[in-house]
Symmetry: C2
Subunit: 155 residues, 2 copies
Amino acid sequence: MTDPDDRVAAWRALLLAHARVLRAIEDDLLRAGAIPLTWYDVLLELNAAPGRRLRMAELADTVVLSRTRVSRLVDELQAAGLVQREPCPDDRRVTWAALTEDGRAALRRAAPIYLDSIDRHFTALLGTTERRTITRALDRVVAQHDRAARVRLRR
Amino acid sequence: MTDPDDRVAAWRALLLAHARVLRAIEDDLLRAGAIPLTWYDVLLELNAAPGRRLRMAELADTVVLSRTRVSRLVDELQAAGLVQREPCPDDRRVTWAALTEDGRAALRRAAPIYLDSIDRHFTALLGTTERRTITRALDRVVAQHDRAARVRLRR
DNA sequence: CAAGATTGAGTCATCAATCTTA
DNA sequence: TAAGATTGATGACTCAATCTTG
């Protein structure tokens, strides 16, 4: 509909692709009876972190959610026994969100479903070069935004 | 953090870029006192449509929102005088959402702000080749999903 | 007073049920 | 009976205010 060379085409494509793929993945997870995507993302980030734990604020930054939302999400995950809150001895203002053994197990169970879904609904639809270009370019976009946000804070 | 060649890197990058850029654009629009992004998207699609009007269901499909949400959005836009509901003579089940003159004016006012914001927060951060690759690849992803959805309906 | 985290209140968005017409 | 659209109930998410510690 729009001129493929115009200034918003790439952004529009990203917006639509995001909506379609996300919807497809969430439907998959629901059908498979797996944990919701937000839970998975939190567990994944915690698992990748040193000591398998992260401050609440750090967690909120890596995941695409507000700190408020992460606070509530960790409430749920803790109630489900997948995450534990732990006090930080160095600075008693911060609380760690730490992955439990049950949390690791839940992550291991969900991972194949999740990876397969991403593969089928997104990665498999891209060529190798396209995939690399997209990863590199969008990672750079994210980095620029994060850098800009840090500068904005400093003032 | 993750291996740049792994299967989820591209999807993860898209997810993060989407969140960062969308946030930045919405902040811009708010600061500029412009209409919200969802309003803009609706007006834009209506403006591009033949006769500057679309069925509610068609509108929901081009925009990344549910039919329910579009129904409520058109309520607001109609109250603001930017869109009008019109009955369809051929099929009295459908209602058209039609752009008003005020709606066109609002769109013309918002467009430069919106375009500039997309440019600064997204397009300008991409190389020409990257931009073309992303547009082409993601458009194809969207097309595949839409095709799959159509096939799913047919059964 | 600033930073980290949580809570209260309100908005955004969707699902299921409903109404109307084909 | 199904398709198009809207409404009611509910969940997802965020902003502003609050609490606690540095």
